[in-house]
């Protein structure tokens, strides 16, 4: 009875604070003035005159239809004064759609969003006592300092987002440092005693990404940086590593000397830098290394206690929630607005409520829900089902599990279907087959039958006519497209190379044809061609890359044609759609080969020690060929969690 009472009071308390957090800031207004909201019509003169006077809550009480009619879109205006937070800063009408702009402020966002996310984390029980020695305090201070420098380095981006805050004054950075120090301190104090939950929180990062609105970093990156610095301070080998890696970082930075390229981060905000210049490359390279050290350290701390079966359930729940919340957000402007803000998403959730739309060729159009990438969402759904199958297979508790678990499987499968990630689906089937053939010790005849079924599935997925086309003119589609995408006056070194081999040899080299055929089969000819039309490395950049988290040079150095050749649509911000190509930009051929070799070696070792994780790693290794998931923090951390071999670390107990 007492337990029931305490749960009941907890729910009331949480509901009360949730309402307080969600409603109150957006009710910020002067209620004693003479300005009262008006019904929204095509005559928007009232809202043009009375900017920053009416709160969102006031506005909605007069215009309830804005909540559920999809020809309204509520958007944020981060370049707004603190006083204007939560108030209407303007309404525009474009065709039949009304855009209602709500004032938000970057500094208030840092505090407000942090408080919400930290309140959620604080609901979990503490596992240990908080220890705050000098080393921890120093890490928190240094981490806050690094983020202050980060804002300085990216001041070109923040000039558009920060209202009346002079980023050329030292005093401004003093203010920023104190704000970030306070938030960082709270993050560490609240998270550290509960860090055991980290592994099971990772799938939910796909929902609550924790990227601050208007900023190019997240609460998660602040956490990782603090842990990264803490790990470095406690480990002399890591300090030596940083010293050894410095020459390459300096060369990366030197390459950017006197250049200043800029890239709007768009949907990859939070895990990319938007400037390419000496200071930005120097800073971001070290930032990435410390981030990685921090993330690896946290993963290492919790990995031994992870129960993968429970992780699979959390992952399936997360992917199902992305579908459910995405559907809500797509048809409801208010949900769309609040989900973006309170979940810290890099991009607004989709507003396409027709989840089963097809294009002119009858193919299903991918649907991304609240997540910025449909492809990565598909990966999460497929991975969660694979984990459930692999680890549920061995887990006896599956027999006791209730119906709720079995509803998650079809929901995750449906999410995978909506994402239209066919590679993930194919890999899901292959992973099932691998596990079954290992466990059931099936005969050769049955193996042959499996192989036949698999080949049929591959042919169906790729399309029979496409397979035949590989052997004709389509075999060079990648290189042909790359040349066509180039502007007449500006060619990348890759395109120059392609033209050179086209002219000098009667036959294209085998690897070029093989790459082109492979790209055609997996429907990447055009996207990778766009990549090569832009990819303009010199010898050093080809070998060692241009530094991590930086795509500005790639997107700004060489201009290509601005529309797609096949569909004639606007090019927009088209990512390379391959994590290996992103790796090539970041670390060059040498770095990419090194990472690939180490990972392949680890996978081969896993085959003997941990077959289930071997299958999962195989899925990742192949899927990343055609997906750029590593550009998104949630996918990056989730994959990191699955790459680590949990059996290497001693386990005391597992958390459910």
């Amino acid at each position: 009875m007492n337990k029931f009472k305490s749960t009941y009071s907890k729910i009331i308390l949480i509901s009360f604070f949730s309402v307080l957090f969600i409603i109150v800031p957006f009710a910020n207004s002067i209620y004693t003035d003479d300005v009262y909201p008006e019904k929204i019509t095509s005559d928007l003169a009232f809202y043009e005159v009375n900017t920053c006077s009416i709160s969102l809550v006031e506005f909605i009480t007069k215009n309830v239809n804005v909540i559920f009619q999809d020809h309204y879109k509520i958007v944020f205006n981060n370049y707004s004064s603190i006083r204007c937070f939560g108030r209407i800063t303007g309404i525009d009408q474009i065709n039949h759609k009304f855009y209602i702009s709500i004032g938000t402020n970057v500094f208030i966002n840092i505090f407000f969003q942090s408080f919400i996310w930290l309140s959620l984390i604080s609901l979990f029980k503490k596992d240990r006592l908080l220890v705050l020695r000098r080393r921890e305090a120093l890490s928190i201070i240094l981490s806050a300092l690094l983020f202050t420098i980060y804002i300085f380095v990216e001041s070109r981006y923040y000039a558009k987002n920060i209202y009346l805050f002079d980023l050329e004054l030292v005093k401004s950075y003093q203010y920023l440092f104190v704000y970030l120090l306070f938030i960082n301190f709270l993050i560490y104090c609240i998270f550290e005693p509960r860090k055991y939950i980290f592994a099971y929180l990772v799938p939910y990062l796909f929902i609550v990404t924790t990227i601050f609105s208007g900023l190019n970093f997240s609460l998660l990156s602040m956490l990782f940086l603090t842990y990264g610095i803490l790990t470095i301070l406690s480990n002399r080998n890591l300090i030596k590593f940083l010293i050894y890696i410095s020459p390459i970082v300096l060369i990366w930075s030197y390459q950017a000397l006197s250049l200043n390229y800029y890239l709007d981060p768009d949907k990859i905000r939070g895990f990319i830098t938007n400037s390419y210049n000496f200071s930005s490359v120097l800073f971001t390279s070290f930032y990435f290394i410390i981030f990685l050290i921090g993330a690896l350290e946290l993963v290492k701390t919790v990995i031994s206690k992870v129960n993968y079966y429970y992780l699979s359930l959390h992952s399936m729940l997360a992917s199902s929630l992305i579908f459910i919340l995405g559907y809500l957000a797509s048809s409801n402007p208010a949900f769309n607005f609040f989900f973006y803000y309170f979940f810290g998403l890099p991009k607004y959730p989709t507003d396409n409520s027709n989840i089963l739309t097809s294009n002119q060729w009858g193919e299903i159009v991918s649907w991304r829900g609240i997540y910025p990438s449909a492809e990565s969402l598909g990966e999460l759904a497929a991975l969660s089902i694979i984990l459930f199958f692999l680890f549920g297979y061995e887990n006896k508790s599956i027999n006791k599990s209730n119906i709720y678990i079995y509803t998650l499987v079809p929901l995750s499968l449906f999410t995978l279907y909506l994402s239209n990630n066919r590679t993930a689906f194919l890999m899901l089937v292959i992973c099932f087959m691998l596990k079954l053939s290992k466990e059931l010790k099936i005969s050769y005849q049955k193996k042959f039958l499996y192989l036949f079924l698999l080949l049929t599935l591959i042919i169906l997925t790729i399309g029979y006519s496409n397979i035949l086309n590989v052997f004709n003119s389509f075999s060079t589609q990648l290189t042909d497209f790359a040349v066509k995408y180039s502007s007449d006056f500006e060619e990348s070194s890759s395109v120059k190379y392609i033209e050179k081999i086209n002219q000098s040899e009667s036959r294209l080299p085998f690897w070029v044809v093989a790459l082109s055929q492979f790209a055609f089969l997996i429907n990447r000819s055009e996207i990778w061609a766009v990549f090569f039309a832009r990819y303009n490395p010199d010898a050093f950049t080809l070998l060692f890359g241009s530094g991590p988290l930086n795509l500005s040079k790639h997107y700004s150095e060489v201009n290509i044609i601005s529309y797609k050749l096949v569909s004639n649509a606007e090019m927009g911000f088209l990512l390379p759609h391959s994590s290996y190509l992103v790796g090539l930009i970041y670390f060059g051929l040498f770095g990419l080969t090194l990472i690939f070799t180490i990972w392949s070696y680890k996978i081969l070792k896993l085959k003997k020690t941990n077959y289930n994780l071997y299958i999962v790693n195989l899925f990742l290794l192949i899927n990343l060929i055609k997906s750029d998931s590593l550009l998104y923090i949630p996918s990056f951390i989730f994959f990191l969690l699955l790459i680590m071999d949990n059996q290497k670390y001693t386990s005391s107990r597992s958390y459910e």
């Binding site: 004064s81 500094f107 505090f111 805050f165 005093k171 203010y175 306070f182 709270l186 104090c189």
Partner: protein, 109 residues
Amino acid sequence: MINSIVSNLFSTTDELCGAEPSGFIDVEIGSDPNFIFVPDSSYVSRNLYDSENNTVIVNSYLECKHYVDGGWDILNQQLNESFFHNALYIFSLLGLLTSFIILKYLKNE
């Protein structure tokens, strides 16, 4: 109040006019109507406002200092924003201090 506490921590002239140039000699201008301010080519011009939002562009540190001493300031909106920033600054400092004291107390417990 918060505004004035924090403003006193930093020199307003420095805040509005930038750092004092090396070798700067302060000239007593008083209310001499014939005084001519010589523009400083190395100085980035700034806008200052009075209480009625009238604008003046200053082209040297001396000119800027003269106007700031005479009550010219930044825009009202900017003053508003500064007030909120000062409040956030104090809030963060107090928050840090309080959290630290609580942690110390809990440790001793």
